[in-house]
Every structure is written in structure tokens, then in C-alpha cells.
């Protein structure tokens, strides 16, 4: 295993420390328990937004802390959800008196730890609501799974809920908007290579040189199926089609198209995927009115990409366009 790290046990703490030093104008790092809050603290009267999860998905979530998006992010160990005793103080730090919405990716560990944390925070008098993100169409949402996973669509949920909170919506309204995004966003991803969790020291799965893993999550889990090596256009179709079908997109729909890198894929390849995804949407009569291309929800150094589509209306578009000032998204 080759990584730019020191002791594998210290990666998260050291990395978040560096993050805090580099971006002291935007964030304030709380070291023990570890969480990242907005510089300047909670905003009086504004609904607080807290997210978190295992580390290794950078810039998610700490990169989305700042004006117009999250108030706090809670990084767990690599690919391991954070613990309630980290999350609860982050919720408290994010509370400006108008309650806190937690944005939780749908994994058993995240759900359980955020649930406990919310109980603790509520016991301390904070009103907490939760939205579960489950945009990954690779997993069937059925009796036979823990439900669809939360992946790159989380960025859209955090951005739009963040804008709603910033404009002064109350907790119910922010939660309802976040849920609308969850309802209208879908993602599917693939991997060309596995990734190596520092404390594991070897790749998360074994993939031959001519194999591609389709339907991966963001934790280096193996995907649903393996296919042979194909061109980017063909692979993109394998991602976009189930996403567009699941959303039942029809001619005239306007969408946000997010092509997300898994961490180790060059930007140039993401744009090749974007080009094809956009053409496929266009063939369906769907108009891409907003775009995002880059590494937003990663799996360490995994090579691969995911395609996310969010159905837009005027309100969601306006909230997407609203100013944001975080380290990873800014406009």
C-alpha cells in the first residue's frame, strides 16, 4: 500500500487538521470529539444543517461546510460512520435556535449512529429532524436489501437544503425541500479499480485488468456486476439509462447532471462521460440546465465515476443557484 500518510490510525485527524488550517476563513475544526463547523459558529435563527459519515469521500462532507450549505460535518474513521458522541456536539454547535436537520446517507451504521445522536441532542433541548439520502439505483430498494444507498446525490441535497435554510425557511420547510431532492435524485456508479483503506492495507476488491465493476457504492464495496472493458460511451449508457429510467424522465424535463469522480480518475475522463451522458439525455428530450463535473463524493483513490441526475423545477434551480461559500463549492 502506497499512500501519502503517516500512521493509518492518524489519517483522518491529521487530514482534518490540515483542512482546518488551510481553510480557517471558512471552517473551524473541533478536535475532540472531531467535527468541522462553520467559522463563526451557528447562525442565530437559521435552521442548522449537519451531515457526516465515514471519511474517504472527500470533499464530502467537510468540504460542504460554509455559507449556503452545511453548518457542521462529522467525519468518522475511513468508511466508518462517526459515533453519537461526535455527532451530538456537532448538532449542538449547528443549532441557532431554529432546530437542526441532519442529512444522513442511508447506511445501517450512519442511520443508527445519527439516530442515537439525535436522541442525545433532543434530550439537550435541540429539535432535530432527519432526511435519509438513498439515491443509488444500483441497489434495489426492497425487502432484500438495507435499502438504496446514499451516494453522490447527497451533494444536491446539501446544497439545496442549505440554500433553503439560508433564505430563512423553517425546519419543516427545509426538511421538506431536502426530501423533495431525495425523491428526485438518482445515481449510478462504476469502478475501474478498487481503493485501499489505510487500515486494511490492500485493495477493497480484486478486479482483473479487463473488468469493470458496475453499480459500486462509495465504500469500496464490490458492485452488483462485473462487465468487460468497454468504451466510455458504452459504459456511460450503462450508468445513465437506469438513472433516467428510475426517475421516469420524459421529454421536456429539465435536470441537473452531475458527473462525479471516485477520486482517482482524471477530470478529462469525467468530461468524456459528461459529454455522452448529456447526449443521451438530449436523445430523450431532457434538457441539462445545470451541471457539475468533478470529485465530490469519492472513494479514496478509486478510479471510476458516477452519474447523478436531479429533476429540476424553478424553485430547486433557484436554490441550486443561490450563493454558496464552502471549500469545495463556491459561487
Amino acid at each position: 500500500m502506497k499512500k501519502l500518510i503517516n500512521d493509518p490510525q492518524d489519517v483522518v485527524a491529521e487530514s482534518v487538521e490540515g483542512f482546518g488550517l488551510a481553510h480557517a476563513d471558512v471552517v473551524a475544526v473541533h478536535a475532540d470529539p472531531l467535527f468541522v463547523a462553520r467559522a463563526g459558529g451557528a447562525v442565530r435563527g437559521k435552521v442548522g444543517l449537519v451531515s457526516g459519515g465515514g471519511s474517504g469521500h472527500e470533499p464530502l462532507h467537510a468540504g460542504f461546510v460554509g455559507v449556503g450549505m452545511l453548518d457542521a460535518a462529522v467525519p468518522g474513521a475511513v468508511f466508518t460512520s462517526p459515533t453519537p458522541d461526535q455527532i451530538a456536539p456537532a448538532i449542538a454547535a449547528a443549532d441557532g435556535g431554529a432546530g437542526v436537520l441532519t442529512i444522513v446517507k442511508n447506511y445501517t451504521g450512519d442511520v443508527l449512529n445519527f439516530e442515537t445522536a439525535a436522541e442525545l441532542a433532543e434530550a439537550d433541548g435541540v429539535t432535530v429532524r432527519q432526511v435519509l439520502v438513498n439515491d443509488d439505483v444500483a441497489v434495489e430498494d426492497s425487502l432484500y436489501t438495507a435499502g438504496r444507498r446514499g451516494v453522490a446525490g447527497t451533494v444536491a441535497v446539501e446544497k439545496i437544503a442549505g440554500a433553503a435554510a439560508e433564505r430563512g425557511d423553517d425546519l419543516d420547510a427545509v426538511a421538506a425541500l431536502a426530501q423533495r431532492v431525495v425523491d428526485d435524485v438518482r445515481t449510478m456508479g462504476l469502478a475501474l479499480t478498487a481503493c485501499t483503506v489505510p487500515h486494511v492495507g490492500k485493495p477493497s476488491f480484486d478486479l482483473a485488468d479487463d473488468e469493470i465493476e458496475i453499480g459500486i457504492g462509495i465504500h469500496g464495496e464490490p458492485g452488483r456486476a462485473r462487465v468487460g472493458l468497454e468504451g466510455a460511451d458504452a459504459l456511460t449508457e450503462k450508468l445513465l439509462t437506469p438513472v433516467a429510467d428510475d426517475l421516469a424522465l420524459t421529454s421536456g424535463d429539465r435536470v441537473l447532471l452531475l458527473v462525479n469522480g471516485m477520486g482517482g480518475t482524471p477530470a478529462s475522463e469525467l468530461y468524456v462521460v459528461y459529454r455522452r451522458a448529456r447526449a443521451l439525455l438530449s436523445e430523450r428530450g431532457v434538457e441539462v440546465t445545470r451541471s457539475l463535473v468533478g470529485n465530490y463524493v469519492t472513494s479514496l483513490e478509486m478510479q471510476g465515476a458516477s452519474v447523478t441526475v436531479l429533476r429540476l423545477d424553478d424553485e430547486l434551480t433557484a436554490l441550486w443557484d443561490a450563493p454558496v461559500h464552502t471549500t469545495a463549492l463556491r459561487w
Partner: protein, 213 residues
């Protein structure tokens, strides 16, 4: 024969040792059908429990006190799915263990409470390829041993054997809860890491009890 706080402390220390020893195996099991952190997470958690035990000024008075310390420490250091699940299991068990010394019936009650805690948090039932599949036969074996008049150490020995069989039986299962469920049919053919760690923890309990005898 009853089991006291010293037994519980010994159980915890043996748990930490066996988890450290099997860390890589648990990581590898979780790498196969999950995300490869189970061994690391549990190891971090039990190391923290031992550190807390070592730092105590007074030894804990009851098994329940020990288990409560385990519960809160795992909850705050393990993370992932296993943190809250084991945390709740030990928390419920600690309530059942809140007397000076546990007889066979109290041991059974403690194990039953642990299983209830896992089920209450995780909402899994037997056959879904989770730690429930180790705890369910463990509790059943413990009940049967106690019904036959076995002492606490034998009850725990039976529970450990039940857990071992249960963990083994997860191999062919297709997961429908937890991270392994994302793999669908590809999850079959691998032992569930949480079931395996449950087996290790119950074996540690039985060994500590055998030593206490």
C-alpha cells in the same frame, strides 16, 4: 457457582485480546462482503474499553457496571453499524447484569437482553446474515443448558458453541440486511463478519467463566 464483576472484567480483557488477535481475519471477512472495517473498528473499540478499565480508580462493583462501561465506550469509539449494535447489546445486558453475582438464569437473561438489543436497533431477524444469526442460536443453547440445570460457565460454553454454529451457518446465506445486502446473491459463500465477532466475544465469555470456576 456465580459470575461476579471480576469475571466480567476478565471477559472484557479476553474480548479485547481475541478481537486484536482476529482483527485481520475480521477485516478480511468484511472486505469480502462489506467495507473491510469491522476488525479495525472493534479492535479500536475494545482497546478503548481496556484503557478505560485500566484508568478506573475503583474496580467496578457488579458485572452490570462493567458491561455498562463496555456499552458506552463501544458506542463512542466503534462507529459503523457494529458500534450502535454492540453498544445497545451491552447496554441491555448491563441492566440484566446489575447484581453482584450472576447465576445461570441471570446469565441467560443477560444474553437474551443482548440479543433483544441487537434486534431492537438493527431490525434484523434470523437468516438475514447478520450477527443476529450468531446470537439467536447462542441464546437458544444457553436457555436449553440452563433448563437442564447447567451452571453459569456451562451456560456460556453452550452459548459460545451455539454462536460458532450460527456464524458458520451464515456462510451460504444471501444477506438482506447491512452492507452485504448490496451484493445480492454475491454475498453468499462468505461468513458474516459480525456473526464471527459475536462468536469470538461469547467464546471469551465462556473462557473467562471456565477460569472463574
Amino acid at each position: 457457582m456465580t459470575l461476579d464483576a471480576a469475571w466480567a472484567v476478565d471477559w472484557v480483557r479476553r474480548s479485547a485480546a481475541t478481537v486484536a488477535e482476529h482483527r485481520d481475519e475480521l477485516v478480511e471477512l468484511d472486505r469480502q462482503i462489506g467495507d473491510g472495517d469491522h476488525g479495525e473498528n472493534l479492535n479500536r473499540g475494545f482497546a478503548a474499553v481496556v484503557a478505560k478499565l485500566d484508568a478506573l480508580e475503583q474496580p467496578p462493583a457488579t458485572p452490570g457496571d462493567v458491561l455498562r462501561l463496555v456499552a458506552t465506550t463501544l458506542m463512542s469509539t466503534v462507529g459503523g453499524a457494529a458500534g450502535p449494535l454492540y453498544g445497545t447489546a451491552y447496554l441491555r445486558a448491563s441492566k440484566a447484569g446489575a447484581t453482584d453475582a450472576l447465576g445461570a438464569a441471570a446469565v441467560v437473561a443477560m444474553l437474551e437482553s443482548a440479543l433483544e438489543g441487537v434486534v431492537a436497533r438493527g431490525k434484523a431477524s434470523a437468516g438475514e446474515k447478520t450477527m443476529v444469526d450468531a446470537w439467536t442460536p447462542a441464546v437458544a443453547a444457553a436457555v436449553e443448558a440452563a433448563d437442564h440445570g447447567a451452571p453459569p460457565s456451562a451456560v456460556l460454553a453452550a452459548a459460545a458453541l451455539g454462536a460458532r454454529d450460527g456464524a458458520q451457518a451464515t456462510v451460504p446465506l444471501v444477506a438482506t440486511k447491512g452492507r452485504a445486502s448490496y451484493l445480492g446473491a454475491r454475498s453468499a459463500g462468505h461468513m458474516d463478519p459480525g456473526a464471527r465477532s459475536s462468536q469470538l466475544l461469547l467464546e471469551a465469555a465462556a473462557e473467562a467463566a471456565a477460569d472463574a470456576d
